[in-house]
Symmetry: C2
Subunit: 343 residues, 2 copies
């Protein structure tokens, strides 16, 4: 018993002795159809448990109601939260979310884009991988007239919208906070790559130093690679200096964690001797016995906004490409790792 043969508009049309066109129009609320037949069709469709075949419709219309999201890894707290935001905003509009991982490799990114375009998704949301340098594959998306929205990690490509947080401001906020806690020798563990976000965080850091008349000490700025070990190494390196820092602003929470572990091993009191702050507000930061100060990037909101940017674009004339740049405000969560009670 395979049961359930799918019901089509032809089945309905036969039953009612009308044409399939009439059924189609009736179901689509076409005003050219009399109210009588429209209601009749609606009723029998319901009775026969008719479900529209979305494939056929997609083939005809060219729109699948599927959108693709490309992220480095889906099981990273930040990315999965963004995806959640996208999903929850788009589902009520009938969209399905397809996920892809780049594993931080451009080559994968290119491949994912190709297969997504081939599946005819209606939009691509993405955070570029660390290894992405040029934007040839991005341009291919635009050539196919598929909307594209960057979130968090973007590239400068004309015609592409993006939703990011104000990394400059975030960097500034953290640094200013550390300064207000009485720190004057603030180290910055930056990101290793060519990503804009790390550049801006660093610039925010610089701006805060300048505003408060603190010198920029090149030895205090170290490239780290967003892993715990990297934080440990950085502290080791910093503590070889004559004049040791009295604060550490890490551009990532894992690096901050590594730094804290190493500082503790050296019996350095946090936050009394050294204040530490991270970035991203990973779940673990607030669960630690010594909770870590961090910047929240409001990932779920970011996803929601990205989805809205796309929806707006759809609502407008399809052929016009809109380029919208949204910058969200970062939120600083001050926790024990840097809280000396000063304001």
């Amino acid at each position: 018993m395979s049961g359930k043969e799918k019901v089509t508009i032809y089945d309905i049309s036969k039953k009612l002795n009308v044409s399939a066109a009439t059924v189609s129009r009736a179901l689509n609320q076409n005003p050219k159809i009399s109210v009588k037949t429209r209601e009749l069709v609606a009723k029998t469709a319901a009775e026969m448990n008719y479900k529209q075949n979305r494939l056929a419709q997609a083939l005809k219309s060219g729109r699948t109601n599927n959108i693709g999201v490309i992220v480095p890894y889906i099981n990273r707290s930040f990315f999965s939260s963004v995806i959640r935001g996208i999903e929850e905003e788009l589902r009520p509009h009938g969209y399905h979310v397809i996920i892809c991982q780049s594993h931080e490799e451009v080559s994968n990114e290119v491949e994912q884009i190709n297969t997504l375009l081939n599946t005819q998704i209606d939009c691509i949301f993405m955070s570029v991988s660390k290894t992405t340098q040029n934007s040839d594959h991005i341009k291919k998306v635009l050539e196919e007239n598929t909307p594209l929205v960057f979130f968090d990690r973007k590239m400068e490509v004309p015609g592409v919208s993006s939703v990011v947080i104000d990394d400059f401001k975030a960097g500034f906020m953290v640094t200013e906070h550390l300064i207000k806690q009485g720190c004057t020798r603030i180290a910055h563990l930056s990101g290793e790559s060519n990503l804009e976000i790390y550049k801006y965080r660093h610039e925010g850091y610089c701006a805060a130093l300048e505003k408060y008349g603190l010198d920029y000490v090149p030895e205090y700025v170290i490239k780290a690679n967003s892993k715990i070990e990297s934080g440990i190494e950085a502290v080791t390196q910093l503590w070889d200096l004559e004049l040791k820092p009295d604060a550490i602003f890490a551009a990532g929470d894992y690096v901050a964690l590594g730094a804290i572990q190493e500082l503790r091993d050296r019996n350095i009191k946090i936050p009394e001797e050294v204040c530490v702050a991270g970035f991203s507000n990973e779940p673990f930061t607030k669960y630690m016995e010594l909770p870590i100060t961090s910047i929240d990037q409001t990932p779920q909101l970011m996803g929601k906004i990205a989805a809205q940017v796309f929806l707006e674009q759809v609502k407008q004339n399809q052929t016009i490409t809109i380029e919208k740049k949204v910058v969200l405000p970062p939120e600083l969560f001050v926790r024990d790792s840097s809280d000396r009670g000063l304001k």
Copy 2:
């Protein structure tokens, strides 16, 4: 310049003065086509940058090469890791992964299933929500002849495969470990719901007590709801008892964390006075200053295996429904929260 009109097999057929059927067959390696034309078609297809329209193919074949995954929330470490496992196993086979969230509500679960079936996915992977009681919506999936694979949280439905970890064994392992650390009054903070997983963890706990001749004390078993507050409450309740526990086995890491926080507030030494263990191996457990003992459910592997179960099913005769039950071994990670150095 909208550029890029999509190339179809008709375009190729016109260029080569053959029929579209020939082009189609040539591209599909049909042996009825001569090697010459086959190669010619392949070459021109490449030159013209032909991409197969997957919608058209899906409409014809009934298979979309999309699969759906339904989880309570995608931004929970465990679930996003399972999804990662599924994605990475299925992508090489040309499948795309569509994600859906139930928000722990059966009503959503039902809706997601319906829209997924309507989109014609080739398989559904799911972890049932806490509120799911009956399996009517599940049966609907089977009636449509769509394969279904449960992971972690399953239901007993004939014809449905599942991949889970051995929760009984896991519960046993944790409890046995605590006993071997010298604990004799072991409390168990169980799950609040009707989910099988919590039942089995509890049974494993009981079995271990029995094996080592320890009494089962009903007051030591408390229903918790997988939140931090719940762990705090539980300890408050337990410490009102005459004879206080000397170990706590929580069926979830957040509950364990709450318990630890409360124990610390009461100046109770961990693990000297009380050993604590959690469940799930959430990332934060190993990053704490006092790392928490926990059970790893190997979520990524779980996803990978679930995907393999589906692939096997596809390889076999489509019409035959295979019911495969995979039980993965849990891994115990002993950390400071329960490590007294005994074995």
